[in-house]
């Protein structure tokens, strides 16, 4: 398996860090090597958030990504900021509910997911990140669906258990 270098970016509050962590958890459960590196700073809801996840079969030296194999953008400014950071031939997932101008480069594959609209259709716009996570896993097979299901159950447990069913549906909405 090649090393996957995934960059996820969007507004603070869109659950960018959460889906990045979930991806990392599932990768570990798949017995892969993985690193998760979040941006950190004086950031708040509405600001910017991004994280990079490296998944590999062999030990990972650098958690920092200069050329991503896959970019996931949940808002328009993130695409403008990170499009150049994708390796030629890489894949870009865009949340087309908020990203109206798509990928400019011709050497990238764009996958548009109406994550925001689909989440609203399911009754909770906040689940757009989980809709996107489902689409990402199904198209790219970075981690097994089986283990991601377990991670979902772990993340939405205890006080958040009432959110599990809705997020499970959101996770599966993109086939």
């Amino acid at each position: 398996m090649a090393t996957h270098k995934i960059l996820i970016a969007g507004f603070g509050g869109q659950g960018i860090i959460l889906i990045g962590q979930m991806l990392a958890y599932a990768a570990m459960m798949d017995n892969k090597e993985v690193t998760f590196l979040p941006s950190y700073g004086p950031e708040m809801r509405g600001g910017t958030a991004n994280c990079t996840i490296v998944i590999s079969d062999s030990p990972i030296s650098c958690p920092l990504v200069d050329k991503a194999t896959c970019l996931v953008v949940m808002n328009q400014p993130s695409l403008a900021k990170y499009e150049d950071m994708v390796e030629p031939g890489g894949t870009v997932f865009i949340n087309s509910s908020l990203v109206k101008q798509g990928v400019k480069r011709s050497d990238l594959t764009e996958i548009a997911v109406e994550a925001g609209e689909l989440a609203i259709g399911l009754g909770n716009e906040k689940m757009a990140n989980i809709v996107m996570l489902g689409a990402l896993i199904r198209k790219m097979n970075f981690v097994s669906e089986e283990n991601m299901e377990k991670v979902l159950a772990k993340v939405f447990s205890g006080r958040k258990e009432h959110l599990l069913e809705g997020n499970r549906v959101a996770f599966h909405v993109v086939k």
């Binding site: 570990m28 998760f36 030296s61 650098c62 920092l64």
Partner: protein
Amino acid sequence: MSEKQLMKGNEAFAEAAIRGGCRLYFGYPITPQNEIPEYMSRELDKVGGAFVQAESELAAVNMAYGGALTGKNVFLSSSSPGIALMQEGFSFMASAEIPMVILNVMRGGPGVGGIQPGQADYRQATRGGGNGDYHIPVYGPASIQETVNIIYDAVTLADRYRNPVIILADGMLGQMMEPIILPEARETVTEEEIRIQKPWALLGHQDKKERTVVKSLRLQPDDLENHNNKMHEKYIEMMEELPQYESYRLEDAEVVFVSFGSMSRIVREAMDHLAEQGIKAGMIRPISLWPFPNKAFDEISPKTKMVISAELSIGQMMDDVKCAVCGRFPVELLYRTGGMVPTPLEVVEKTKALLEVTK
């Protein structure tokens, strides 16, 4: 052995300190290590320990000093400007021969600086930011797992030498997540055991004992000189015992990097890119920064053209690298500072430029 779990650096560091036996924590919030006091405030109580949020770093270091006088293992963490404020306490503890495990999750400086990763406290840590003839062993681990192991081992190391130990992590290691295996928790030491293992500990006179005195004040110069000489014997022992490093691909290396911590991971990936471009690069990764692993430099091949100190500071480690190289190879510097972190490709370009200049 517990099983693999995904943990954020800072939380793993705190857990490593608890499992290593630390039962007291004193701190004051500062980014990028705030998850540590948060974790300690939640977890220490559960193992019979105590967490105190001090009113400042100066208070925290002196509370920690006081706490350690009781013979309990103390963990102290902060980030660069906060660690700067604690230097007086470190010097006092070294002089009074008080064990302490200190973690600096470094950020960009000088001054209040910024909150992104840096390594510019290298000189302060390895040379000692406080006054007087003292040394503190300093480690610069490169992964969450290595940091966890070093913190865990530092608890017994500090006790054995009766000396503080400093671990230099940085914002990147503190904030990132990696799967790790946590070490087994050590048993909580009882007061009776402390009385036997640490006769210097201040646990009350018990009516009959002679007074136990712990101090750093020695007004008689001959007394102080004797004390310093005695401590120096301990430092010589450390210089023998503690140097630790890892070396990669030194054989036939055209260029040898010297790099520690987060930066060494970036360099490690840059080495692969350089190899693809036909440039043989090796690396010495110091794990102990004081004592510096000078012996590692004897492994460098005579064919090597250049040694590069790659760091997140402007040549602070290069002084030690030059000292260890001792004139055998040209030493160059590759750095970013102020919270800027280079990408592997940037390291590749800068290395090629350095090689070009010396051609």
